[in-house]
Amino acid sequence: MDLLSRMESESIYVIREAYSRYSRVGMLWSMGKDSTALLWLCRKAFFGTIPFPVVHIDTSYKFKEIYEFRDRIAKEWNLDLRIARNEEALADGMGPKKIDKFACCNALKTTALKQAIATMGLEALLLGIRRDEHGVRAKERYFSPRAQDFTWNVGAQPPELWDLYATVDEAAHDRIHPLLHMTELDIWRYVRREGIPVNPLYLAKDGHRYRSIGCSPCCMPIASTAATVDEIVAELESSREPERAGRAQDKENAFTMQKLRSLGYM
């Protein structure tokens, strides 16, 4: 098997492990390239019919292209799509400028996720994070237990030996990360090979494209002429810029990502 196929099999193994060991599983989908690749892998793992809900944590600040992409794919792939919003915080005017970006991410993403997990009674949640995205995500495990209050104790994670993933008794829910071993380039090569649909925000228009997408006020495009997936692969093969260079969240403070994640951020 070639490397992409080996990585695919590893991810499918993790997805099926989660489904075999938990009765209430869900998947987080942000419509970005990673979680869309994860969605594709879930379709492969379950022969085209994903047997669990796909959750979108909607901050209401996403790009309009993201909402359009979501609704089109959800219909085409016949997904059990659930949309989760922290309505109370939104009614209260929460946004990136109200206090700071940290407070906004925490309220509109982490708290909305907490509400969704509670409402849906989820025991395990599949997420498309990768180790090479960020130094703190690099410390993740494939099966990552979270306490009742959602906290992640990064320094005291249970051992994860080989692919004998642990499901710790006292965990309130488990975060499952089937893409941990893939890099940004692996994802794009996989998107190219499989023909996975791509959000148009990633493709260059007028000399700019988004390399990482999230909420529109907090994502900056990069200068780029890569207008096709092939051109994105070629661009990344020679780029020297880190992937999340356009994400405001990572820049506010050196340890913002660690603090967000320790509170249950994705």
Binding site: S9, R43, K44, P159
Partner: protein
């Protein structure tokens, strides 16, 4: 071949664990490699918060930077024109051995880092012992902090001999021993002009010369992850550990012994080609339905089936393992309750010295453990098929120790 040479067709991927005693420079060496390679296409520059402390490339937690110590294992990914490298950093501190194992069990190869001013220490030995248990039996030794030895050859040669002797006793072959100053980059990517007496490879070149391991078993082994029914078809899913599985193959369900025939190999989109080693697939079978934990294998070449599993166990948990204790043994997709019957040949992993016979195995000790299982267990020797020759012993759902089948 050097990882920096010209492009090859299919790039191999090597995952390298950086192991050794606390503060001998594991994170610094990876950080320095990362820094020196950041001029290359496709490799991002290290972030500004590192500020010349190369360990911070890997140590990204606030408490790691404040204490200048790696707490959790982490990985960094580098892609060169000819190969792909994943460096796995692990903590050197003995309290954090579970984090070291979470990293090292993902590695294909290892660099053992040894500080020139301290030489072989407790965790150097313990990490080497663990590598040998995990099946990583060739390593590169980096003798770091050569500046504290005046970059002198005599001192280096003494350490080279000591390390080779200690590692040989553990069954580990050293492919290269390299004098290094990780902080300043000596012999990291390029040969250092400050140590003209050294004519061996740099750390990166030595990594490029590692040979990939091969899997010795060719008979099919398919541990069952579960049976899916969500789309109205009963599909047995799992990953082929070895051999291949094609439509029409007759297989035995271990340990029960029932015979089944592969009706369809299922994938999405539909593709009926034979399943290859390492591949996650679905199988529609004719015959009695297997369950999670069963292993499918050809009748003529079955794995071991035993109700008295045994292995060399390294104990992790603070609370010792005692004769008579019941816990869960996990191997591939099997999950079986076992009772510990005996502990023999205990060893102290700090000194590698034998310990007197006893009925308990403390944290960081090893022993041959014989168990009785509530039902039959399917195993292979570790050297024949690693994925069926290693197991974890769990208490309360968390790994408390791991073992290797002789």
């Amino acid at each position: 071949m050097s990882p920096l040479a010209t492009r090859a067709d299919e790039k191999p991927l090597v995952r390298i664990a950086m192991v050794g005693h606390v503060d001998h420079g594991k994170s610094t060496l990876i950080g320095r490699i990362r820094h020196e390679m950041s001029g290359l296409p496709g490799i991002a520059s290290v972030d500004a918060s590192v500020g010349g402390n190369w360990a911070f490339v890997m140590d990204q937690l606030q408490e790691e930077r404040e204490r200048e110590m790696t707490i959790d294992t982490t990985q960094t990914f580098l892609e060169t024109p000819v190969c792909r490298l994943v460096f796995i950093d692990v903590p050197g501190h003995q309290e954090l051995i579970q984090n070291m194992l979470s990293g090292a069990t993902r590695a294909d190869a290892a660099v053992l880092v040894l500080a020139g001013d301290e030489g072989v220490q407790v965790q150097t030995r313990r990490h080497a012992l663990l590598l040998s248990m995990l099946g990583i039996r060739t390593v590169i030794v980096a003798v770091n902090k050569m500046d504290t030895l005046g970059r002198q050859e005599d001192a280096f040669r003494r350490l080279e001999r000591t390390a080779a002797d200690e590692l040989r006793a553990l069954g580990i072959t050293v492919t290269a021993t390299i004098p290094v100053v990780a902080r300043e980059g000596d012999n990291v990517l390029q040969r250092s002009p400050a140590m003209p007496w050294y004519d061996g490879p740099s750390v990166l070149d030595a990594i490029g010369e590692l040979e990939p391991a091969t899997a010795p078993v060719d008979a099919a082994r398919f541990p069952v992850q579960g049976v899916l029914r969500h789309d109205g078809l009963a599909t047995v899913v799992g990953r082929v550990l070895s051999g291949s599985i094609a439509e029409g193959d007759q297989l035995t369900v271990c340990p029960g012994g029932a015979a089944v025939t592969v009706r369809t190999v299922r994938r999405f989109p539909e593709d009926h080609a034979a399943a290859e080693p390492g591949e996650s697939v679905g199988l529609a079978l004719d015959g009695p339905e297997p369950a999670r934990g069963d292993v499918l294998a050809p009748a003529g070449d079955l794995p071991q089936i035993t109700s008295t599993p045994a292995g060399r166990v390294f104990w992790l948990a603070e609370k010792p393992l005692e004769v008579g204790e019941e816990l869960a043994l996990r191997c591939a997709t099997q999950h079986v309750t076992v009772r510990v019957e005996s502990l023999t040949d205990r060893l102290d992993s700090a000194t590698l010295e034998p310990l007197p016979d006893g009925n308990a195995l403390a944290s960081m000790e090893l022993a041959n453990v014989r168990m009785s299982a509530e039902g039959p267990v399917v195993l292979e020797s570790f050297d024949r098929l690693a994925a069926l020759g290693r197991f974890v012993l769990e208490r309360g759902g968390a790994a408390a120790g791991f073992g290797i089948v002789a």
